[in-house]
């Protein structure tokens, strides 16, 4: 599973001292982490711990109160709008709801970034779209509308669209949300297959333990009260050998009294 020289390569994502505040409410306080090329990196934690918030800041949809984020070695704070848009073309994002455009067919959804951002002739775009849909096992569904697909198929179509421009990084927000265990496991396998085949770095936000143990190379665990990272590393190791009760409780689905009290706030 370990990809040998990972730690010696330059990180594709580097986050330093990221602090997020909404009014007086500090959600994240001084978060640091690095993601290396080609790994499947999971951001995990309980509900409301700031997982999705962290993701939105990393991809630059929101601006942090403090801290720095480097994507591919570029400090995102120094980029102007057009440079940031160029950077966005190099990253793909799968949204929780898939966010496919309902008025377009699946094929048109995948083709959209290609027609907008490349100069390829329509014939080539069509064959790339077919190839991408084949990659996510949706061959033949190009003329279907999103409303005609199941939840799992929508997610896969979302991945095909996110990967249309061959991004170096793919961000996935709760990919297994709303899917049955089998579909969810299939999606996990697909994510791993794409990661191994294309070498795309995958950053996944999830609290699905199944996904975490099956496909992640490395995780960070966020905690709501700590407002930051409480554990980092291989989940299989952390599960058994972490000294932190919050970490082992999460991995082993143990309910503690304190958690219950925390949930009422």
């Amino acid at each position: 599973m370990e990809k040998g020289n990972r730690t010696t390569a330059d990180p594709v994502i580097k986050v330093e001292g990221l602090t997020v505040r909404y009014g007086d409410n500090t959600v994240l306080d001084g978060v640091d982490f690095e993601v290396y090329p080609g790994e499947i990196f999971v951001i995990m934690g309980g509900s409301g711990c700031g997982k999705s918030t962290l993701l939105k800041h990393v991809i630059g949809i929101e601006t942090p109160a403090e801290g720095k984020i480097w994507l591919n070695g570029t400090d995102t704070a120094l980029l102007d709008d057009s440079e940031l848009r160029r950077l966005h073309m190099g990253i793909g994002m799968l949204f929780q709801s898939s966010a496919l455009f309902g008025s377009m067919t699946i094929g048109e959804n995948v083709a959209l970034p290609l027609t907008e951002f490349t100069a390829l002739p329509m014939k080539d775009i069509t064959s790339i779209v077919r190839m991408k849909l084949g990659m996510v096992e949706l061959a033949g569904y190009d003329n279907h509308y999103p409303a005609e697909l199941s939840g799992g198929m929508k997610k896969r179509a979302g991945i095909a669209r996110a990967m249309a421009l061959e991004p170096a990084m793919l961000f996935l927000d709760e990919p297994s949300a709303g899917l049955d265990p089998v579909t969810s496991a299939e999606l996990d396998l697909l994510i791993r297959k794409l990661n191994e085949g294309t070498g795309t770095t995958m950053v996944i936000v999830t609290h699905e333990l199944e996904t975490i143990f099956n496909i992640s190379h490395r995780i960070i665990m966020l905690d709501r009260d700590a407002k930051g990272i409480i554990a980092e590393g291989d989940p299989r190791v952390l599960r058994t050998s972490s000294q932190d009760a919050r970490v082992t409780d999460f991995f082993n689905r143990r309910v503690t009294k304190k958690k219950h009290e925390g949930m009422t706030t």
């Binding site: 490349t118 790339i128 190839m131 084949g134 569904y141 003329n143 421009l165």
Partner: protein
């Protein structure tokens, strides 16, 4: 991204062609690569094709797609194909390409364009079905109103007040402004003509009669359809999309009673009131033109206005606006309940609520014109 794909083609005497590729093979280069396929097979007609990829630094799935297409073309022309020089790591990307997927036909063929007669037929079916839906919804609504009248305490009066504020109070500024300007314009335009005959004072009658009998109720109804009918459709439509309507039903509520009745009652009360305001504002607009432009006194203008309109005009205008209110709120709710699907369907329901309401307003108004004509002269 920097770097390009370089290629060189070598031919041997026995028809063996070697294509050497180096550099980056990615999406940006895909457009340059695809013409190579026809070049190789048409210009060189190889008996055997060797592809040497030892110089490739980077290959993504579109690069891999090119290789697969090259191989497929070779197979189709019965040309032997070999691939060499690709590291195991980079071979991984080739395994991602699903050859069957590339050739697989679309499962759902694109919708065929209908011809004119089919379109006409379709539109008629939709129109008839729509009419049926509105009538049956109207029937259900009347039943529910009857039920509410018998169980007055069960009506959600809090909601009724909220919607009265939304439809009436919040709508007053725009209704007032438009009516005022309408009165002003009518008085001004008519004064230009009436002045020639020295009939200045009849500007007051013209504005009063036109507003109280026709334009007041119609303008108010159209504004309410745009402001509130659309809002009703969007609100109920969004609740349908979010399964809130289903939740109400499973909890044992009648969604119709719960959601429609407060909106309908609020509209029935506020639209006639708004209509009264509309007429008053328009008369004020006319008054300004009369006083400033036609040298009438305020007293004369008001006296002439009072003389021109009868109680019958006022009452018939109000009855009309009452019926408009029923139509607008019913159509708004009905379009909302009809929503199936997602955000787009909500948008369609909103548009359709406004368009249908305005259409019904005109139809109702014409009907009233005929009925009132006979009542008045009977």
């Amino acid at each position: 991204m920097p770097g390009t794909t370089k290629h060189s083609i070598e031919t041997a005497d026995d028809g063996v062609v070697t294509l050497s590729l180096s550099g980056r093979m990615d999406l940006e280069r895909f457009g340059e690569l695809t013409p190579l396929i026809s070049t190789i097979f048409d210009s060189y007609a190889p008996s055997r094709l060797n592809v040497d990829m030892a110089g490739i630094d980077y290959i993504d799935s579109s690069g891999a797609l090119f290789i697969v297409k090259l191989e497929d073309e070779a197979r189709a022309r019965s040309v032997a194909f070999t691939l060499s020089g690709l590291s195991r790591e980079k071979m991984g990307i080739l395994s991602l390409i699903d050859r069957e997927a590339l050739a697989k036909p679309s499962l759902a063929p694109r919708e065929r364009r209908l011809n004119l007669i089919e379109q006409l037929g379709n539109a008629s079916i939709i129109a008839v079905k729509d009419m049926y839906d509105i009538v049956s919804f109207g029937g259900e609504l009347i039943y529910e109103i009857g039920h509410s009248v018998r169980h007055l305490r069960k009506v959600r009066w809090g909601d009724v007040v909220t919607y009265m504020k939304k439809v009436g109070v919040d709508g007053l500024p725009i209704v007032g402004l438009i009516s005022f300007l309408l009165g002003l314009i009518m008085a001004f335009m008519s004064s230009l003509q009436l002045k020639q005959f020295g009939a200045n004072v009849y500007v007051a009658s013209l504005v009063a009669v036109a507003m109280v009998r026709e334009l007041g109720p119609i303008m108010t109804a159209i504004i309410v359809a745009g402001r509130s009918g659309s809002a009703f459709a969007a609100e109920i439509g969004t609740m349908r999309v979010n399964e809130e309507v289903d939740a109400l039903a499973t909890m044992g509520f009648s969604p119709m009673r719960f959601l429609s009745i407060p909106k309908v009652i609020a509209s029935l009360v506020t639209v006639p009131v708004l209509t009264i305001f509309a007429s008053i504002f328009a008369i004020m607009g006319g008054l300004i033109v009369g006083v400033v432009g036609l040298n009438l006194t305020i007293f004369t203008y008001i006296q002439q206005t009072m003389k021109a309109i009868s109680i019958f005009d006022i009452v018939s205008g109000l009855v009309k606006s009452f019926v408009f209110a029923a139509a607008i709120s019913a159509v708004g709710c009905q379009r909302g309940f009809k929503v199936r699907g997602g955000a787009e369907a909500v948008g369609n329901a909103t548009t359709s609520a406004v368009v249908t309401s305005i259409f019904l307003i005109i139809v109702i108004d014409s009907t009233f014109a005929i009925i009132l004509h006979y009542i008045h002269w009977a």
